[in-house]
């Protein structure tokens, strides 16, 4: 055979070609498989459907272990747009009992959402009823890309205290930016306890890793759930609130605007906290939430505004005990010091009115009769006492600091969101208003009787009452008594002691006791229970005076300190005292004595909203 060595060399060309191609392929595979990481993620995104397993949200009990807030299941229809193929929309809509127009609307809204992604589960419809859920579940195999996400909704055993208990809502983009725990579609606490204890109640979400084939069908759990993360249930809460008392206080406040706050003095636990008008928290569950929420927002009586926490009211005469404490502490007065009251405080052309009682008058009777003049004279004596303080500025700062130590002027630190701080002016404030050196006690005399610039929240007012009941200390008021498997914050266990020596409190308490036995709050004089109290009637620019009351009982071993504030209801004695005393009686005795039933009836039936000037549509 003829051998052509020139042609034989061509085997190197053919072989070389093959070797070069093989090398190119190996290099390509090297980049695909080793250099680039993205393909692993792509494959995982293809194969694994990471389904969130929502934990059961913590339950809420009241102080008597009665269940207040619990969970109910709800079902959301979710879709992963990428996996959805053409489907029978008519049948789909019929199954869910929605119109095709609604479906289109929902799809359009979903796509517009900033968190929209074709690759991750999107909520198409939320809160399916159990019946719709059942029907869809049966047909789900026909709709690849759709699945049903079980969720937890809240349900309430009491149709009251919407602001206190709060609610849950779907997280907003702002929530997601604030807290990395949240993902689109999650729920978070909104308002009240649900908000302030959200991190505690929500638990920890779990993950279930499902295997999904190319047609979007679920083929089982990845490695039998070995990589799943079980959800951790939220902590249960036990409130300090007595729901019976809370409901009772709310019923007394029906048709009134204002607040009732009751505190157990020895623990700082809030027994009831009513903001009136209130609303039913069940109205903010599920699909009706949006509609009902905007109705609440637009309500002229502003039910979403928590008056007990956020309301800034002139405390009026309920402020006087704090004044007495300051005067005694600062040696401005002694128990024997008397001031004249000529149906009021008269200093030059200034006159602050008062009502009929003996004159001159000492501290305790002044508290008993709520004498304005006494506290004006005392305040004037303190602020103008240059010999002691050097200037009115300095004297006023001392006065202000005492009040701040009693919890006024700043947030108390209650375990609820959106607490207000009230207002206690300082010398700088008046220097700005009147000019430095251009104001004296007379200029600002009304602050001594809790008027003028002074503003306080009903919670702060109740806290003062608790401080007096304790004879000199308080614990930051709080609504959560216990958290399962954990302890409440130390700030709700430690005493806070104002800058007033404790022995002065007995005298103030005695004055308040006298007000009940023979003064302005005689209506609070319960049979068999020693009550101490102080009325308040606050003038205000919004019409009729506000009616206020603080009181605690029993006198020697206080179990409850209460503050009542009813807007535009007139004298403290007309609404504040009856409501406050009924709350005390109900809490201590569990019932209202027959001879006081008429007071209860009167309160339940009265309406003071008519004086508020707010027209309800």
């Amino acid at each position: 055979m003829r051998k052509d060595y020139n042609l034989e060399k061509r085997k190197y060309v053919v072989g070389g070609f093959l070797v070069v191609i093989a090398l190119i392929y190996i290099c390509r595979l090297f980049t695909l498989q080793i250099t680039e990481d993205k393909y692993k993620d792509y494959a995982d995104n293809n194969a694994f459907l990471k389904k969130t397993v929502y934990p059961s949200r913590g339950l809420i009990y009241d102080r008597n272990d009665s269940l207040v807030v619990f969970n109910q299941p709800a079902y959301d229809v979710m879709m992963i747009p990428r996996d959805v193929h053409d489907f029978d929309t008519i049948d789909f809509c019929n199954t869910l009992q929605i119109t095709p127009a609604t479906l289109r609307e929902r799809l359009a809204a979903m796509r517009k959402s900033p968190s929209y992604s074709a690759y991750t589960p999107q909520t198409l419809l939320s809160h399916l009823s159990a019946r719709d859920y059942g029907r869809l579940q049966e047909k789900l195999y026909r709709y690849p890309g759709f699945f049903i996400q079980k969720r937890i909704l809240r349900q309430y055993n009491y149709n009251c205290s919407g602001n206190l208990l709060g609610n849950i809502r779907e997280v907003s983009q702002a929530d997601i930016d604030r807290d990395p725990y949240f993902e689109p579609g999650d729920y978070c606490g909104d308002l009240g306890i649900e908000k302030s204890y959200d991190a505690c109640l929500r638990g920890v979400k779990g993950k279930e890793i499902l295997i999904r084939d190319a047609r979007g069908r679920i083929r089982g759990r990845y490695e039998d759930g070995a990589h799943d993360i079980a959800p951790v249930s939220g902590h249960d809460l036990r409130l300090s609130i007595d729901m019976g008392l809370q409901q009772y206080a709310e019923s007394l406040m029906v048709n009134k605007i204002g607040a009732v706050v009751a505190i157990e003095p020895s623990t700082g636990e809030i027994l009831c906290m009513v903001s009136s008008p209130t609303y039913d928290p069940t109205s903010l569950i599920g699909r009706e939430r949006g509609k009902n929420y905007s109705a609440l927002v637009n309500d002229p009586l502003k039910p979403l505004f928590d008056r007990a926490l956020q309301g800034a009211y002139p405390p009026g005469s309920t402020f006087k005990p704090s004044q007495g404490l300051i005067f005694l502490q600062e040696n401005i007065v002694t128990l024997g010091t008397s001031y004249p009251c000529a149906r009021g405080f008269i200093s030059g052309r200034l006159r602050v009115g008062c009502h009929g009682h003996g004159s001159p008058i000492a501290l305790k009777p002044a508290l008993q009769t709520s004498c304005n003049a006494y506290f004006c004279w005392g305040f004037k004596a303190m602020v103008d006492k240059r010999s002691k303080y050097g200037s009115s500025d300095k004297a006023f700062e001392v006065w202000k600091n005492h009040l701040v130590s009693m919890g006024y002027g700043y947030k108390l630190g209650v375990d609820l969101p959106h607490e207000g701080r009230g207002f206690i002016p300082n010398a700088k404030f008046y220097n700005k208003v009147y000019g430095e050196g251009h104001w004296s006690a007379n200029t600002i005399i009304s602050v001594s009787i809790g008027q003028g610039e002074i503003l306080a929240t009903p919670l702060q007012i109740a806290n003062l009452c608790a401080t007096i009941a304790n004879r000199g200390w308080f614990i930051t008021p709080h609504v959560v008594k216990q958290i399962t498997d954990t302890v409440i914050d130390a700030q709700y266990r430690d005493r806070r002691i104002p800058t007033i020596d404790s022995h002065w409190y007995n005298d103030i308490a005695e004055g308040m006791r006298m007000a009940v036995t023979g003064g302005t709050c005689r209506k609070a004089n319960l049979p068999g229970v020693e009550v101490a109290g102080k009325t308040g009637t606050a003038q205000n620019p919004h019409g009729r005076d506000h009616s206020a009351f603080i009181g605690f009982a029993p006198y020697n071993d206080p179990k409850i300190a209460v503050a009542v504030y009813v807007e535009n209801a007139g004298f403290g004695a007309t609404y504040g005292v009856p409501i406050g005393s009924l709350v005390i009686e109900r809490y201590l005795n569990g019932h209202i004595s027959p001879e006081r039933k008429h007071i209860e009836t009167q309160m339940l039936e009265s309406n003071t909203i008519i004086y508020s000037g707010v027209k309800k549509h």
Binding site: L18, L29, L32, Q33, I34, A47
Partner: protein, 495 residues
């Protein structure tokens, strides 16, 4: 067989002689590839819910049957007298062509292709078997006494007729991929004396096409970057051809200096913000060089100068006609080309397969996810994963280690076949062996290239791996006839 005859060795048709002369390296590579293939098919068709290796409802179960039968087939092929293949080369070829013709008419339409003969529960694809028949016929042609490809154009016509007859028939069955395989036989023609210029020209044409189609966005010197690169390539090619092919140092130097000079001038001009437009610049520089070559021809009369000048002129013509050629393609062909060249991305359409296949392979990493642990393939994200895209399963489950091993196995097998080809004492044996090598090269390059996103999606199987009896048997025919021919080379030498 009498004890006397078995004692005399070597003797054709003697099984002991065959075993002694069999190329065991090829046999081992064959077994390795077939075994790896069955395992891959098992992995690719593994179903989470009901897995069973020996069920004949499963692809892997059926494939094991095919493999068993192919071993029998291999043995039978080895037992046939090697001269029979040469003797009956043309009848086998004619019979196979007839079968291809019949197939066009009697095959049922399966996904638009009429290439499957259904015999009861079994279906066979004759196109897979016409490969070895064509190889035998081509080998027979070349082994004709005194045959020289370049002796007469009619020899080219004969060779091309043998190659293109099955191509036409398979195209008529609408199996474009299988038809294209026969193009690889140009390697055989090249080995047997066809000018290398033809292969180079084909390569050049592909390069010009890709550059011109792909890089149309950026502009350099006012012309598309693709065309700019083609012109630069032609400059280098022309100077190179003059130096290496024409072997005229003076002309090569002059042309090189001319190109270098004008390029430098253009560059300096461009620094001053003043430059010749691309077409004018390249028209002048290439035109002058071509003119110079033609002028030199008057002096040296070298036909190779004409070829060089011709290559440049034809290439420029081709470049300008690419747009026209491309626009005359079917839209789906245009799209496939664009997807492969990375011009368009279409994750749900044409590039879905390739995309998912890249994800499968890429997610395998260095060592793979482990046998039967591949999610892409198990969950059917890669279509045709047990046939044309079987390489994905290896990539996903065995990783870079697995893919490289498979590539190296193929590389070894094909290089071994080439070396077997070169040691054949007969032209028949050599040409046949080169046909085998060419088919393997084509299948290997196109299939793996397609799966890793380098080549267009052309549906041809990966030998020994892709599911299917026809493909496995087709390659078994090819390889074992070669082994039989090789085993008898000693007796041929002594003849």
């Amino acid at each position: 067989m009498s004890p006397y005859s078995s004692a005399r060795a070597p003797r054709r048709g003697d099984s002991q002689g065959i075993l002694r002369h069999l190329d065991w390296l090829t046999v081992i590579l064959y077994f390795l590839l077939v075994t790896a293939g069955v395992i891959s098919i098992y992995a690719a068709s593994y179903d989470y819910d009901n897995a069973s290796i020996f069920s004949f409802d499963e692809f892997s179960g059926k494939q094991i049957t095919w493999v068993g039968l192919s071993f029998v087939l291999g043995l039978v092929l080895l037992l046939v007298d090697s001269r029979m293949y040469e003797t009956y080369a043309y009848p086998i070829y004619i019979a196979m062509m007839a079968l291809l013709v019949v197939t066009i008419f009697i095959a049922p339409d399966i996904k638009g292709s009429r290439s499957w003969l259904v015999l009861g529960s079994m279906s066979l694809q004759p196109a897979e078997f016409s490969k070895f028949a064509t190889a035998l016929a081509l080998a027979k042609l070349f082994s004709t006494y005194g045959f020289n490809l370049n002796a007469s154009p009619s020899n080219y016509v004969k060779a091309l007729f043998i190659i293109f007859l099955p191509v036409v028939l398979i195209l008529a069955q609408k199996e474009t991929g299988s038809a294209l395989v026969y193009m690889s036989l140009f390697f055989v023609l090249y080995r047997e004396g066809m000018s290398g210029l033809i292969l180079s020209a084909a390569l050049l044409a592909v390069m010009i096409f890709v550059l011109a189609v792909k890089y149309t966005e950026t502009m350099i010197l006012g012309i598309p970057a693709g065309e700019f690169s083609v012109f630069c390539l032609l400059m280098v090619l022309m100077a190179g051809m003059l130096a290496v092919y024409v072997k005229d140092g003076v002309i090569a130097r002059n042309v090189f200096l001319w190109f270098a000079g004008v390029s430098l001038a253009e560059w300096l001009l461009s620094l001053g913000g003043w430059q010749l437009q691309g077409y004018i610049f390249f028209g002048v520089s290439l035109g002058v060089a071509v003119g110079y070559c033609l002028f030199e021809m008057l002096r040296v009369k070298a036909a190779k100068l004409l070829v060089t000048a011709g290559v440049v002129v034809v290439s420029v013509g081709f470049l300008f006609s690419v747009g026209m050629v491309f626009n005359h393609m079917m839209p789906h062909q245009q799209k496939r080309i664009k997807v492969v060249l990375g011009i368009v991305d279409d994750p749900r359409g044409d590039s879905y397969n390739v995309n998912q296949s890249k994800i499968a392979i890429g997610s395998g990493g260095a060592a793979g996810k482990g046998f039967l642990k591949g999610t892409q393939t198990k969950l059917k994200y890669v279509p045709e994963q047990h046939t044309d895209f079987i390489f994905c399963t290896i990539g996903e489950e065995e990783g870079f280690v697995g893919t490289t091993a498979v590539i190296l196995l193929f590389l070894m097998l094909i290089l071994r076949v080439i070396s077997l080809a070169e040691r054949q004492p007969t032209v028949f044996g050599r040409v046949y062996a080169y046909c085998v090598a060419s088919y393997f090269i084509f299948h290997f390059c196109i299939n793996i290239g397609m799966v890793i996103g380098i080549c267009p999606v052309i549906g041809i199987p990966l030998p020994f791996f892709s599911y299917g009896g026809s493909s496995l048997w087709g390659f078994t025919f090819l390889l074992f006839i070669l082994l039989r021919l090789d085993a008898s080379r000693a007796s041929r030498l002594t003849r």
